[in-house]
Amino acid sequence: MYYIDPHIHMVSRTTDDYETLAKMGCVALSEPAFWAGFDRGTVHGFRDYFRQLTEIEPRRAASYGIQHYTWLCINAKEAENVQLSRQVIEMIPEFLSATNVLGIGEIGLNKNTKNEATVFLEHVQLAVDHQLPILIHTPHLEDKYQGTRMILDMLRDFTGVIPGKVLVDHTEEHTIEAVLAGGFWAGMTLYPVSKCTPARAVDMIERYGHDRICVNSAGDWGPSRPTAVPDLILEMRRRGYSEFAIKKIVLDNPLEFFQQSPNFRVPPQRIGLAS
């Protein structure tokens, strides 16, 4: 089955992974800017990273017939450094005309601090100013509930934010309901130990419906499975869902969300949506 992985960090993955994803049916993916495993020291480090996201990865993906899209930001872990964050936010518009940039992301919170919230709000302003979609990281483990609620508070009160253009990612059983109730898109990340399993993701789809929900692998440099979306496809088949219903989750929904970005251009013929 054709599918889109809306959140995967391919700079951390091998070229063999691109080949595997292509064989599994992945036709497009999007790669939010994130933490490299260490705090970068200067804005120049981010400029080089954004070049990798907008120039290098699209070429690597294209050689396997996969379209590569990206989201730009300074991630929540590095946002504790407000001065550096402001330099990065000021530099981001240099890259917004790149043909694979979908929007601003993955912005969010990590430890739910004042500095993180300050930088989050400045990123949201950047997205609103450029009328771009937003992809949001919610914190891990014990910080997720509080952080997700803080993010929803900030978005709800922010003039110019259109909930349907915002995907709040890494939702789990205790956060998904508030995200959907706010009119936002909810992402579920299929990731070992700290996030969600394919079975739990299907449970949440059964509880909360199939609209405004996307699933992703968030494959990165940590223990993770870049093929986690096909794992969910298998779980849905195991439970007896039609191919039509599965396609809605793994292809139609990310298409609907991404199409709000002016740079999204997956040809319908490529994925069987038109003859």
């Binding site: 997720k144 509930y145 419906g209 219903a245």
Partner: protein, 96 residues
Amino acid sequence: MVSPQETFSGAKIKPETPVLDREFLEIRALILQLAAALDRVDRNDKTSNDDLRMERICAGLKVVAERDGAIGDRAAKVQLIFSHPYDAHWRTQFEL
């Protein structure tokens, strides 16, 4: 009004195997893994009884074992046991 759950269940093209039939062995295996892991903690960490994490584990296990009043909601309840509480006045504290 049709609930999202009913709408999506309509997307099933074949009758589902009864869930307990499908999940029983896996649930059994998960309970055994939990029991063995907690035995391991007891054998190797004599101070674990005073650890807040053990309190949370025990509270979570109580929710898992509920037979009434938690239908379909155990996972969210367990998540909240392992979560920091939300303070609706956080912005005042941060002066944001």
